[in-house]
Amino acid sequence: MASLKELSTRKDPLTGGHRMCPGCGAPIVVRQILMASKDPVVVVSATGCLEVSTTIFPYSAWTVPFLHNAFENAGATMSGVEAAYQNLKKKGKMTEHVNFVAFGGDGGTYDIGLQSLSGAMERGHDMLYVCYNNEAYMNTGVQRSGATPMGANTTTEPAGKVLQGKREWRKDLTEIMVAHSIPYVAQGIIGNWSDLTRKAEKAFSIRGPKFINVLQPCRLGWGYKPDSTLELARRAYETCVWPVYEVENGVYKISKPKEKKPVVEYLKGQDRFRHLFKPGNEKLIADIQAEVDRRWNLLLAKEATK
């Protein structure tokens, strides 16, 4: 695995001067994933925070070839780019190996782009799809997505006098991707660069479709101080709210925290969960803990069965 010193000699895929919020995690995901590639990369991004803020004409923060098409079609768009590349390679017009990486937020991946992603994975294109998952539609103002956790306050499922934020458990997209039987699926966080770049390196070493789901705290939508982006992600890992694991050819490998902390440790630092701590909402927190435990145990069982 490449050391930070070694990574620092590679091309930074992004320049400064983009318009993401101070402390935004999305560019950190991009940098850690793409710098893991020794080979040239070509990027497609779904519409979203990352895309609008990095490519305001005539300013592009991408130093690598970049294409944006629309919101729900990063998977399909990359399918076309990759097919073109395979054609050029077949005809001897391109020789160098290229890693194709598509980025989508959770809205563009879990929800509106799921069909396009599923199709691209099923067809076996040689590409890595990375979901920079901040658990809501942040670009349009913190609306709930299929990735939003139960209880979180969003603008389309707000906490109010009667309802306490999102009423449904989040969709487990990573397991949906595992069910595609693609060679490599992983969950990671920002805040653990060595794990994330190792996973990206692993993904780049495998031909075929790969998927990595990266939890990326959003200071605007989650509500915390901008310097805590990485720390908060690590809290999600330590509480097993966001398990960090990989599935290579169907075999599970889980990174287990030294000590599994209670979910409260994760929830309490965020404005989006603040209402859960009001008197009367104790059961909601207990429910969340129970569901986190259930999913964690299920995952452990999957690892155990091999």
């Binding site: 318009r19 919020c21 935004c24 925070c49 803020s53 305001i56 605007l220």
Partner: protein, 192 residues
């Protein structure tokens, strides 16, 4: 259009420039004025320079183009003066009100401003002290009323209090803090 007052608010994403314009618009409406309040929409994020606008008139307002020659400019963040041309389009008899600890003469020098009237107030300090957080937008409304005489401060406070009470039903302390901050800024704003 002579009866129309046009205002431009400069702030940073997350500082409440848009909210300030909306609050001012609503206050002016309840004082019997015709109003518009609109933000500049872009992909800018927290911390990025943003602007928002008001039109206030005793006549009906039908115009829907952007404001290029505001008679009043309010700067919520003094650091914006380094990078944004906050005085752009300001006429010679215009008014600029800046949230800063500096005095008007310092601001005039920094902006290399020849005409107009400069006012300053430490809205950040006031909000920190009275609201508990740095949200300079509401105190700046008090400074605005003092500097321009747009409306009667007590009438405006009454209306804003009612609005805030609705918005922050769960946090009454914030409402009082905001009202006090507006009143304090009204008193403390310095002109030339």
């Amino acid at each position: 259009m002579d009866s129309t007052v046009e205002i431009r608010w400069h702030g940073r994403g997350g500082q409440g420039a848009k909210t300030a314009a909306l609050l001012l618009g609503e206050a002016a409406l309840s004082l019997g004025k015709n109003i518009q309040a609109f933000p500049e929409y872009g992909p800018e994020r927290m911390g990025a320079p943003v602007a928002s606008f008001n039109r206030i008139s005793s006549e009906p307002i039908t115009i829907h183009c952007s404001i290029t020659n505001p008679s009043i400019v309010i700067v919520l963040d003094p650091t914006l003066m380094d990078s944004v041309d906050v005085t752009a389009g300001l006429p010679d008899n215009g008014v600029i009100i800046v949230n800063t600890k500096l005095c008007p003469a310092d601001v005039r020098k920094q902006l290399k401003l020849k005409g107009g009237k400069v006012f300053t107030v430490d809205a950040s300090g006031i909000s920190k002290e009275l609201i508990g957080r740095e949200i300079p937008n509401t105190p700046m409304m008090g400074a605005l009323v003092k500097a321009t005489g747009l409306f009667d401060i007590e009438s405006m406070l009454k209306d804003t209090e009612a609005k805030l009470k609705k918005k922050f039903a769960a946090k009454p302390e914030i409402v009082q803090g905001n009202v006090d901050a507006i009143r304090r800024a009204y008193k403390e704003v310095i002109g030339e």
